[in-house]
């Protein structure tokens, strides 16, 4: 057996698995999205763009996803950045690892159970009851966009902190000293040195969270209570309740398309941002 054959033999089982369990299923979604719904649900072969023409019927789900996914990502970033900064730059090295692990531990426990905790906290007996005791009546938190955003930030905060921490931790601390030696105030140092150098970490964190949010189902299902729903919730409804496979496939395929386009634009923007920074550095 040559080395070449051996390599292929090693890769073959994984390749076959991907072919049957990923490539084949995704091609089904693509093909089905041009089909029609059968009388009892399911799929009837056809070639029509009807399903795509029907997409506006699920406009609210797309709108909610496209508004709350970026908003949730931004909120997570704003909360995560100062924490990552504190951990990477201002913390005694002896405590760094422990404190970072403490941020990541919640991420290792089920997102289902962590989101469920917020039903408790935001529900009628939770914060609204506390506010009522303080004389602020009739505050409704659960099943609102706010509840979903809180759930998103809570669920994905660790994923945002980690890459930013890594970027800030790698940063050469002598640069910060040099900046202050040259008379920069702390804020100027942060704005002109620290922040630009942490862009790769911020970019990675935002992308990870955003991609996961685009397909989110659990958080809106639990904290949106049918009032605030994402494309993921529409997909569950289409495939498991109304069994409209053709339309569901069109929705799924559109979701992937939106994701790819957004990520492509986003990566281009980040790349441009970094190029511009290099120009400044040369000057």
């Amino acid at each position: 057996m040559t080395r070449r054959e051996r390599n292929w033999l090693l890769v073959a089982p994984a390749g076959a698995w991907f072919l049957v369990m990923l490539v084949l299923p995704l091609s089904f979604v693509f093909v089905f999205s041009f089909g029609e719904r059968g009388p009892a649900g399911g799929y009837v072969p056809a070639f029509t763009l009807e399903q795509y023409a029907n997409l506006p019927a699920r406009w609210t789900a797309f709108k909610n996803t496209m508004v709350l996914a970026p908003l949730g990502t931004l909120a997570a970033l704003l909360i995560a950045y100062p924490l990552a900064y504190q951990l990477a730059v201002r913390t005694d090295p002896r405590w760094k690892t422990l404190l970072l692990v403490l941020v990541i531990v919640p991420f290792w426990t089920s997102i289902l159970i962590r989101s469920y905790a917020w039903i408790f906290i935001l529900g009628g007996q939770g914060i609204p009851a506390l506010l009522a005791a303080l004389g602020i009546e009739d505050v409704r938190l659960i099943y609102t966009p706010f509840a979903v955003t809180v759930g998103i930030v809570y669920g994905y905060l660790p994923l945002m902190v980690f890459p930013i921490y890594v970027a800030l931790d790698r940063l050469d601390k002598r640069l910060l000293e040099a900046s202050s030696d040259l008379g920069a105030r702390p804020f100027a140092t942060f704005w002109q040195v620290t922040l630009p150098l942490s862009v790769p970490g911020v970019a990675t964190g935002c992308m990870l969270v955003f991609i996961l949010l685009m397909g989110e189902f659990l958080i809106p299902a639990l904290l949106g209570g049918g009032k605030v729903f994402f494309v993921g919730n529409a997909l569950v409804d289409l495939f498991l309740q109304s069994r409209n496979w053709a339309f569901g496939s069109a929705v799924a395929f559109t979701l992937i398309l939106i994701m790819l386009v957004t990520v492509a634009i986003y990566m281009r923007l980040i790349a441009r941002l970094q190029v511009r920074r290099d120009d400044v550095a040369i000057m």
């Binding site: 089982p13 905790a117 408790f120 993921g232």
Partner: protein, 270 residues
Amino acid sequence: MRFYALSVYLFLYTPIAIIALFSFNAGRHASQFQGFSTQWYGRALKNPFVMDALETSLLVALVSATLASVLGTLAAVGLQGIRGPARAVFDGIIYVAVMIPGIVIGIATLIALVTVFDVLNPWLATLWPAAGQPPSLSMGIGSLIAAHTMFTMALVIIIVRARLGSLEQALTEASADLYATPFGTFRQVTLPLIAPAILAGFLLSFTFSFDDFIIAFFVAGSETTLPIYVFSSIRRGVTPEINAIGTMVMVASLLLLIVAQLVLRRGQRR
């Protein structure tokens, strides 16, 4: 700044603490603490639905994480020696596997397998000898394991490949110069060096599979995994039993994480 960090930690841990606290609630009410009791733990552990779901989840997680670790490691090793367009296609597939939302993997697997099974089942029935019930393919543990293995295998390949990339080529070359067979080099040089990465991949795969709700929701057929059980219970109304299950799951995954860390540390010291 310190105060800020402290409040973020509070934000992260208060909900978890509340779940743990209310799991010891004596009363039926999920939102009023009425004294300390461990009765909900007893009830959860005696509930046959919970135990069945737990068993299914553990089986699926163990089998899929093992398959993913073995096949993923083999693929990562094989991929090292593959260049050109074939390599680009394979990398693209791995990229797609981790990028595509879990929900899309779930529905894609559902419609593909159901359609294929509908075609295959009559065939199986005609090919089957007259006596006895012909086998019938359907969604269940098999499809669940297959789907979880697909996704987690991509994770294992990424992790192991990163580790392989950081290894010194000189080591394997030295081993070959000393007349070790390729398999001997792999077993005695490469494998011990990438073992921590394989273990990390296995743990990540196990945790992913055990916690996964969305893929399982579509491909589990009539099987119930623990996350599916918890989700449908929450839908029916909140009981302290869910808090007890949640607390046990959190403690178990924490212990797993600590044990893994200890094993990895010991491995490094050696």
